[in-house]
Amino acid sequence: MSAGRSRGALASVRTLALDRPGAALAAMLLGAVALAALFAPFIAPQNPFDLASFDVLDAELPPAWLEGGSRHFLLGADSQGRDLFSAILYGTRISLTVGVLAVAIQAAIGIPLGLIAGYVGGRVDRLIARAADVQLSLSTLMLAIIALALVRAGLGGETLGRFAVPLLVVVIGLAEWPYFARTARAATQVEAAKDHVRAGRALGASDATIVRRHILPNILSPLIVVATTQVAGAIMAEAALSFLGLGLPMTEPSLGTLIRSGYDLIFAGIWWVTVLPGLTLVGVLVAVNVLGDALRDALDPRLTAR
């Protein structure tokens, strides 16, 4: 059974790659970026968090392919003399970490709530659905901006900077559980009406066992689609908050912080400090979104029927 399933999964991956070269490309790009981010300490020529290692003479060096560029600074340097290539590698690492951890929190809250709502039904279901509605009508980004702004106003920018990663993860993670809850709920309702679940119940399995062994494994694919889009959203939210100065500090820059730090320089014609981290961010987001769209289409029975 399990061998058959994994062969099926392999086959569907192959079909996906053949049918949608864009999605396959996106997946490869993402894999490469994730690896580069993971092994950043080994790849990066410089530690971008070690302010002492910067040389002011290197400040605002253009990328290597432009006039005046140095081959030691492949993508140029920022206003402090920080090597941009290293900074982007580490920044991507932070952005991906925040994105994935925040979505893990969303899933950890949303999926159980959705399973309960879909399986139990009735008043519990209505209560959870209502809470999800209210939560969704409040914008995550706006809530995150307000929450972090209050932390900054209350405790100062330095404290905010020190706890930026856990704060960002929690703030972005807490607000978007309804997407997981809704998807899990709808899928659970469909699954719970099926014969194998009823058979399980007739055989005396407990509710917990039914949900864990018969429902959860069968509703994973729509949840994976949600997770993909949510990761893109979380990465974008992190970048936006850091750009506003409500996220990671300049001593430990994420992609959003790098974009912010280079923003003033574009008027002096120094575009690379902003544009290169920006392109990296957009590249990651496009790849995640393309992958999410492809997964959704591949798993949508309405579209395959056509």
């Binding site: 702004a149 106003a153 936006a240 100065g245 544009v275 496009v286």
Partner: protein
Amino acid sequence: MDLERRGRIRALATALAFLSKRAAEAILVMLAIAVIAFAVRQALGDPLREIMGEAVPEAPRAALRHELGLDAPWATQLARYLVHAVKGDLGQSYIYKRPTLEVVLAKFPASFELVLAASLIVLLVSVPAGIYCAVRPRSRGARLILGLSVLGISVPVFLTGIILITIFSVWLGWLPAFGRGETVRLGIWETGLLTLDGLKHLLLPGLTLSSIMLPLFIRLVRGAMLDQLGSDYVRTARAKGASRVRVWLHHALRNALLPLIAIGGLQIGNMLAFTLLTETVFQWPGMGFLFLEAVTRADVPLITTYLVAVGLLFVITNTLVDILSLWLDPRISLDGRR
């Protein structure tokens, strides 16, 4: 005849009940926001600093604290805050030395005009593009639009702004990169829509803000139209001989508006956040820009007033969306089960 009239009266009564329920909800939400604002003030703010500045010894401080009732129990203070808030007094700004509500409201026209410009662009582009993608789903144009919309959704709004500034302000020098330009005062409303300079300044921020909403709305219009085009009544209309375009615009689009408004209404909060980001990039002197200034300088009364003002905007627009969908949908059941 009599039955029909009675039915109409009953519908009116349920509509009124619905509206009063909404109004009660709105008031409750505002009350909650005011309590949060009060709590933030208690936790972060020092009202004495608003009045005396920081360099005053402890003895006169304590005297004034007692005189102002700041040593009263928090419930009394909350009640006083609420009473003052209803009268429009939300405190004094540390930075501007003026009533905070006045400061925030003076920035409202700038934000409003930015949102207005962006909404116009979104409306004028997303409706035709969405309809096109729905009626010609396999065409090259539709694929191009949807492909571009994935790209558009993947470019954060602040980056769009930076890219537009780099191209049109720094490289080409065609359009200004920050501020509102020349404005005209109409009573209390300071508008940038009446001067060429003001409109020029509005163009890039407006485009930037619309760029983040456009992909979503194109997809929404397309999805809603696809749903409608597949329904029986559209097939019936085609069968009775109505022209294609008439069916698209008269039948399908009209019914596609409802889900559009409902889902679009969920974006109000996001729109506030994106406006704040756009204002930051273009140093647009709106409410969001003011808020960030207040945050950097820890102007607590101004921060809390912004929270109350944004909460009020959010509640008002949401109520308007509800009323609009009520008004557009003749089938809506008004007893709470929608």
